[in-house]
Amino acid sequence: MISINAAVIDLKRLELLADLDSPVHRLDARAKVLVTLVFIISVASFGRYELARLLPFFIFPIVMVALANLPPLYLIRKILLICPVILMIGMFNPVFDRAALFQIGQAEISGGWISLASLCIRSTLTIGAAFILVGTTGFTAVCQALERLGVPQVFSVQLLFLHRYIFVLADETARVSRARELRSCGRKGLGTVSFGSLAGHLLLRTWQRAERIHTAMQARGFIGRFHAHRYGCFGRSELCFVAGWTLLCLSLRMFDISTVLGSTLTGGLP
């Protein structure tokens, strides 16, 4: 019960970060969506054994977090929460891909381990970028930006409802679990027997609540479209923001900056 409530509060905190005031927060949401998209595509498009060339991409989250005054530890914690999922996706890489890729001393490093590490870094970068986008823009504004960028309305409204009903579902889950816990007297209750019924009730209650919310929305004139109170404008600062980051991401994607920098720095050494 406590963990569900804590998770909801944690999720709401991410949304509240979007209310901060910083140069990044003030930018039009479309600019941030575009830059995040370019960043994610650049990172995701590397080969599976790529490691070194991914590292310079950390400049994006570091600079954005610093400029937007986002709490870095909070974001790191959120990314770590998703790590088990990433590890589950890549856990069989070292098992199936045993071909040695290079050697450190006596130890041979197989391709599977490298691809797992690459997957972890790419996931950290892309998930971090998504968190930064929501933390600097807010989920509602992100959906509105997507719509203004040409994404069909049906998708953006679905995303908004999904976001809204996560909280509804979590609230209902917290209430049902609390009621169950309080009558379990510190034991397991009826175990799995009660769990099936509880899950069924949860679904129906969430459904009913979602219907009530939808009715309340309709009563205030909702006809399938969310309107923003004020739409930002895509000005010079947005243009510079998009051009700057796009240029950097494309450069990092096309040129091996780390090798170039490394050989430049060590080039003079014997």
Binding site: Q218, G221, F222, H229
Partner: protein
Amino acid sequence: MSHHIVEVKNLQHTYPDGTIAIKDVSFRITHGESVAIIGANGAGKSTLVQHLNGCLEASSGQIRIGDTLLSKGTLPDIRRTVGMVFQQPDDQLFMPTVFEDVAFGPLNLGLTSDEVVLRVHDALDRVGAGHLSAKPPYHLSGGEKKRVAIASVLAMSPDILVMDEPTSGLDPFARRQLMALLREFHHTKIFTSHDLDMVLDLCQRTIVLHEGLIMADGPTGEIFLNDALLAACRLEKPFSMQGCPVCAGGNR
């Protein structure tokens, strides 16, 4: 004809599971009237008011708001005219901040950004919640949520205000505040409530529902003096009309 008139003719509603919630209800509420719909649990009060702005579709019968017959085509107009405050404010507040939530209705009306800002501030000030505008709704107390929910409806400038159990869950002070606020709303008001003292205070007319039928429709004072009617409908007189338990020697 005024937009503020509500006319319900032979309304019936049967839920999909076969429960007949409204059997045959007809009434006419005119401009500026303040009407309470009272009844025991399950009498059909909430079902009835949810028909007034098309949240529920009637199984049979007609509803007119002013000159307009309620139908799918006229729903947007009807919903602008009839503002509905639901029993659970949590169901009504769904945007990230109070400001955005109150702005949701006016934005759907297609108002300009400046007008929306004016309306939101005006509505929040009217309910004494101007200081809450930047807060997320889930951080508000029960009374604050109720006031913001009312502001979210007032911001749409409805001609008719419908409220389902407006004082439920409020502390005595918040209840008094809300009643003072509602007294200031001079258009047509329709409430459902178990708070019969509020009904006595705010509503000149009362409709008594029992098992989906209207058992009485008349001046509030007269209805609350009819002991037989109240008993038959599982109701009681408002506390303010009952004798003092101390003076009566604890015989109540």
